[in-house]
Symmetry: C2
Subunit: 418 residues, 2 copies
């Protein structure tokens, strides 16, 4: 087996410039679409006013490569030069001024759409574009469809059945926030989880949405909270018992970092596994889940950690190399593109090759069902070698270190709740 | 200076059995109070049905000591036998079936009260009881008044002025959740912060409240979130600039553990200190705060970590021994009482005495202004020695380890935002 890495980016974006969604959108929504476009342009103007040099610099320096958001040939070329064999495609390719947002904001901000008609119309327009986009080099793409499940569960099931019939679509993204709809721990969503588990479509939230209306102009509060709002649905599914009722269901939290997961695993395991402080809660917790919460990670729960911090790479064993998936966030400016090879070298140089293979591709392949045989020739051509990343091939993962990483299981002598 | 510890518990509870609040409550609310009492009893009956053996066992085994919730002489005796010189008193002394809740739930669940009249009436009844309770052995008590600031800011300022005039009252607790009122990052709360900073009253949230209406019967979700909801106001004050406008203001997050703080310090410092990924946000963050977020901890932000886990004690340098304050949670069953001395021995035995002195009392004394000279004779009589805790007196805090604990400052070469 070749030593070149088959790198899969578990966080990337695709989308048309917002005007270009028009032919994908039912004509009956075109009048409202014009209003939406006017809003988008006004928003861009406002952002340019605050941050002109940065925005124009980014767009000019990366003019050609940014076209990979919608042009499959450009995308393949950019992936090649970054050493990336395949990627997972979320909506909203323009993270600077939001000009690649699907109609009515049906991408990363779908939860904020008031009228279900617009939420579904915008989502379906993006999904139609996506089905086309992913028909080019399909083995290099895992396309994540938009489904506003909060707004109408029955209609959502219909949309999921449609996207499941599209060959390039391999997962769905749901609104991060349920707002005044039903929370995700509610069993009313079971028809959604059932169809996703049956079709093998992992369900995602992706960072972006948060209760902005509470933040005023205090952007620091947004940054302090956005990760939590993105991750929140994970424990609503877990403690609502969704993974018990649908053992094949996968839920992925994307671009909301990963650092928060180990402490939550610790505390959740302690609550459910018989910790001292929760005797008064024991009767209330009984019968909801059968395993320790941390044992759902890597089976039902995954983390698309995007461009991981070095600290998260250091914490890889407590996070689980079988849980966390690295990503470029292409073509967003906070990602590694177009300097992915340098970042891989500086961030992964010091860890064993077997850990890096999991984080950089194998866990994503398992989560999403990528065909590694089909990707192999591409990886042979463009993938970096361990030597390219400056790795010491004699470094081995220490199984004792892996076991000790989730220290709380021994310290509290926890047992599955049964 | 004596080697006995002056132990201050930064988390404890006091309160009357709910019926007994009647004489402290304005007569015009008595009719509604009867309805409230009926609800409390119905709630207790329901809990007894689910968890009879545990509840009756706890109440019978601790019958005498539980009276310390409202009887100062019993309380002093219980503190003595636990080796605790002084404590900080929050409402809701009965954490098992909630039968010590102030009128209308004005304690730990004040945010959920719809009518401001009842929120203030219930709070004032508890505050009147508290002023009496804290007039006995006043140097051993720091009483935390209830002020539902979300419900009426001007009226809240009036209540704070009244509690500030009561000698035993040394802090206020505000609703954890603002619900449909103004969020705490809003400058509309400035009159509250101003009067608290001026009067030297630390402001608290204490765990309890969370959006229960979203959880159904999935208690695991409540446990997974309650810490976050309790801590949330801290960063709303910080990033809303409250500590810039009121440098003397202190905010304490109580009984919501402490483990979450270091990762937030890291990420917040990175956002505000010039990290790579936030260039696009730089213009939006400018001018809000002048120091790195972690530098507000120990000055403006404190954590009443209650019965800390051993892991949190191991993480004491990244948390800050000048930030975190241990507590018994007396008389709650998830606390250390009546076995505090054993728990101190098993949890603090392995750390240097100077760290333990900070965590177990000195940081609380600085935060709350306890008179350590007045507590000294009590500590001489009842406080444990380092030998009682099994500590090795030759262990010293390593300043290099303390500096390295907040590793991100060097790794990202962060600078204060100015």
């Amino acid at each position: 087996m070749s030593e070149r890495y088959t790198i899969i980016s578990a966080d990337a974006h695709a989308g048309l410039h917002c005007e270009e969604y028009r032919p994908y959108l039912d004509a009956k929504y075109h009048r409202q679409f014009d209003e939406y476009l006017a809003e988008r342009h006004a928003n861009r103007d406002q952002q340019l006013q605050m941050n002109y040099d940065y925005i124009m610099g980014w767009e000019k320096d990366n003019e050609e490569g940014l076209k990979g958001a919608y042009d499959p040939a450009v995308r393949d070329k950019e992936l090649d030069s970054d050493g990336v064999a395949a990627d997972v495609l979320f909506a909203d390719a323009d993270a600077v001024t939001g000009m690649a947002s699907p109609p009515f904001g049906a991408g990363l901000f779908a939860g904020a759409i008031a009228d279900p008609e617009f939420a579904f119309a915008g989502a379906h327009a993006h999904n139609r574009f996506l089905a086309e986009m992913c028909s080019h080099s399909p083995h290099r793409r895992c396309c994540i469809a938009l489904v506003p499940i909060t707004h109408d569960i029955a209609r959502a099931v219909g949309e999921i059945e449609w996207v499941a019939s599209q060959p390039g679509i391999s997962g769905i993204m749901i609104p991060t926030m349920w707002r005044d709809h039903l929370p995700y721990n509610d069993a009313a969503y079971d028809p959604v989880w059932a169809v996703c588990a049956e079709a093998g479509l992992p369900v995602h939230t992706h960072s972006g949405e948060a209760p902005m209306e509470e933040y005023g102009d205090n952007t620091g509060v947004y940054l302090a909270e956005v990760v939590w709002w993105t991750a929140r649905p994970a424990w609503h599914l877990l403690f609502g018992g969704a993974f018990e009722r649908f053992p094949g269901l996968k839920f992925v939290v994307t671009e909301a970092a990963a650092y928060w997961a180990p402490d939550l695993m610790w505390k959740w395991d302690q609550y459910m596994g018989g910790g001292h402080t929760t005797k008064k809660m024991a009767a209330l917790l009984k019968g909801k889940i059968s395993k320790l919460p941390s044992d759902y990670f890597g089976e039902n729960l995954f983390i698309g950690a995007s461009t991981m911090s070095r600290e998260e790479i250091r914490r890889r064993h407590v996070l689980g190399c079988d849980v966390v998936m690295w990503g470029t966030d292409y073509p967003h400016p906070e990602g590694t593109w177009p300097h992915t090879q340098e970042r891989l070298r500086s961030d992964f140089g010091g860890i064993p090759v077997e850990d890096a293979r999991l984080l950089l591709g194998e866990t994503a392949a398992r989560c999403y069902g990528f065909d590694l045989d089909a990707l192999r020739p591409i990886a042979e051509r463009i993938g970096p070698t361990p030597a390219d990343l400056g790795q010491d091939p004699s470094l081995r993962t220490d199984p004792g270190e892996v076991r000790a990483a989730r220290w709380w299981k021994d310290e509290y002598q926890l047992r599955p709740p049964g």
